[in-house]
């Protein structure tokens, strides 16, 4: 009995040791929310993200104003009317790669992973589970993922006049190259 208890304490105290971190400040996230004929697409090249390869903890921080649109007016509307970037300047995902043990950071390759955590956008936080890929290449890893978020879940309102132009769910594409720290 005591042995089991001791083992549990030992295991719990050793997690977190040998923490190896990967980081970037120039990760890329784009989204696609086209509903009609007009393309609604934005790219952000200033995403900060950090991954702890031991624990699987992962964080993405997205400066919302850095999303670039093809149309300047669309960009203004996105900031002013939809995401309200003055009030909510940052979106983030704080989570954990649930199967981090399956990723061998020593060996080049692509590993399928699932990130479970909290996504905060427009001031609203929701639990999410997102599929993705960690591609290891030397001292660099690439985090990539494609998933959809329902705008209504984050209280992003779409007025009826543009209802047909904007998709109800935005497709988010993550593609960030992280360097070993």
């Amino acid at each position: 009995m005591k042995k089991i208890l001791f083992a549990i304490v030992l295991i719990s105290s050793t997690t977190g040791a040998y923490a190896q971190k990967y980081m970037t400040r120039s990760g890329k996230i784009s989204f696609f929310a086209t509903g009609g004929t007009e393309k609604i697409e934005a790219i952000n090249n200033e995403v900060a993200s950090i991954l702890d390869s031991k624990s699987g903890d992962v964080v993405f921080q997205v400066p919302v104003k850095s999303f670039k649109f093809a149309s300047a007016l669309m960009e203004e509307h996105f900031n002013e009317n939809y995401i309200e970037s003055d009030k909510f300047p940052k979106s983030d995902l704080k989570g954990k790669v649930s199967n981090i043990s399956e990723v061998n950071f020593e060996k080049d390759g692509a590993y399928k992973v699932t990130v479970v955590g909290k996504l905060t956008m427009h001031g609203v936080t929701k639990e999410v589970s997102v599929p993705g890929t960690i591609t290891v290449k030397g001292k660099q890893i690439t985090l990539s993922s494609k998933f959809k978020v329902l705008l209504a879940d984050y209280e992003i309102k779409i007025p009826s006049v543009v209802k047909d132009k904007i998709a109800k769910d935005a497709e988010i594409t993550v593609n960030s190259i992280l360097d070993q720290k």
Partner: protein
């Protein structure tokens, strides 16, 4: 035995609980690391955006420029005086229109041309951003310079001897400094000291230069709806001949997808600076109010860097 199994159970529970909190804490710690580093990194200036919705408050310039590579097609329409009554359908029977094309050459430089029915005028102008308000400390206001010229149609007004005025004689100019501040997300105010120069004036008693101080503002009521207003107060001598009034316009901005729609009540008939700053013949106090609207439609001509590869037309 019972106590033992209880102990074991609670121990497992405790450790799993500590695992749980550790998971969240791990991510939080990482987030803190990022933020810590963010502070040490070179701080990016957070420029204030959308002080006004459109490049004109109603009649005159706002601090906003057309975006880089963006063409803005504007239709501005002013009906006659409401006081003209039912026989003139409260001004709707006569209307003056201005069509304008504006283009953003860079983030800080825009140019525009226009044609107004009133006085059959052509106009050209440019607006340059000089200072930009920064939200996270630093510059408290935005400042721009705007200047433009108008050319009146040759048959609108003849010289006293019955001959036509030359091109030069039909030209008028304006210079404006725009000083604006977005105080918060609903209130923006702007001052615009303005100089109007007319190559020819009606009377030898009149000066060719007129100074005026303009004040404008916006109160944003919702994300798509704002109240706007602007007023030009003539400093020093007004033009003689008419009982010229200071220009006062109030209106609303309504925003739909790709349009900004402005509805306006004003005592200005003309849509160029010399008219609505110094030559308003209508008077608010006796119902000399013109209803009107502006419609702006933007077209992206040059795509931003990020989108050069994609071949999408975004209008």
């Amino acid at each position: 035995m019972r106590i033992r199994s209880f102990l074991f159970f609670s121990a497992v529970l405790l450790t799993s609980f500590s695992f749980q909190s550790k998971a969240q804490q791990g991510a939080d710690d990482l987030a803190k690391m990022l933020e810590q580093e963010d502070k040490t990194a070179k701080h990016k200036k957070d420029y204030t955006t959308a002080t006004f919705k459109a490049t004109r408050i109603l009649d005159g310039n706002s601090i906003e420029n057309t975006g880089k590579g963006v063409l803005d097609f504007r239709i501005m329409h002013r009906f006659g005086e409401l006081s003209t009554g039912a026989s003139n359908f409260y001004g709707f029977d006569n209307a003056a229109t201005k069509l304008a094309l504006d283009y953003g050459i860079t983030k800080w430089l825009m140019v525009g041309v226009g044609r107004s029915a009133y006085l059959k005028e052509y106009d050209a102008f440019t607006k340059v951003k000089i200072l930009r308000q920064v939200k996270n400390g630093g510059m408290p206001l935005s400042l721009s310079y705007a200047t433009g010229a108008t050319l009146q149609g040759e048959d609108v007004q003849l010289a006293p001897d019955g001959s036509k005025y030359s091109v030069v004689d039909r030209m008028r100019f304006y210079h404006q400094i725009l000083i604006a501040r977005k105080f918060n997300d609903w209130l923006s105010l702007q001052l615009m000291p303005t100089l109007i120069h007319m190559n020819v004036v009606d009377s030898s008693k009149d000066a060719n230069d007129i100074m005026a101080m303009g004040i404008g503002g916006r109160i944003k009521l919702s994300t798509r709806f704002a109240l706007t207003g602007e007023y030009y107060y003539t400093l020093g001598n007004k033009l003689s001949g008419h009982d010229y009034q200071n220009g006062l316009s109030v209106g609303v901005d309504i925003e739909t997808g790709g349009h900004v729609f402005q509805l306006v009540f004003t005592n200005a008939t003309g849509l160029n600076e010399h008219s609505f700053v110094a030559q308003n013949t209508s008077k608010w106090s006796n119902g000399g109010i013109h209803f009107g609207f502006n419609i702006s439609r933007v077209f992206t001509i040059v795509q931003p860097e990020e989108f050069k590869h994609t071949n999408n037309k975004s209008w």
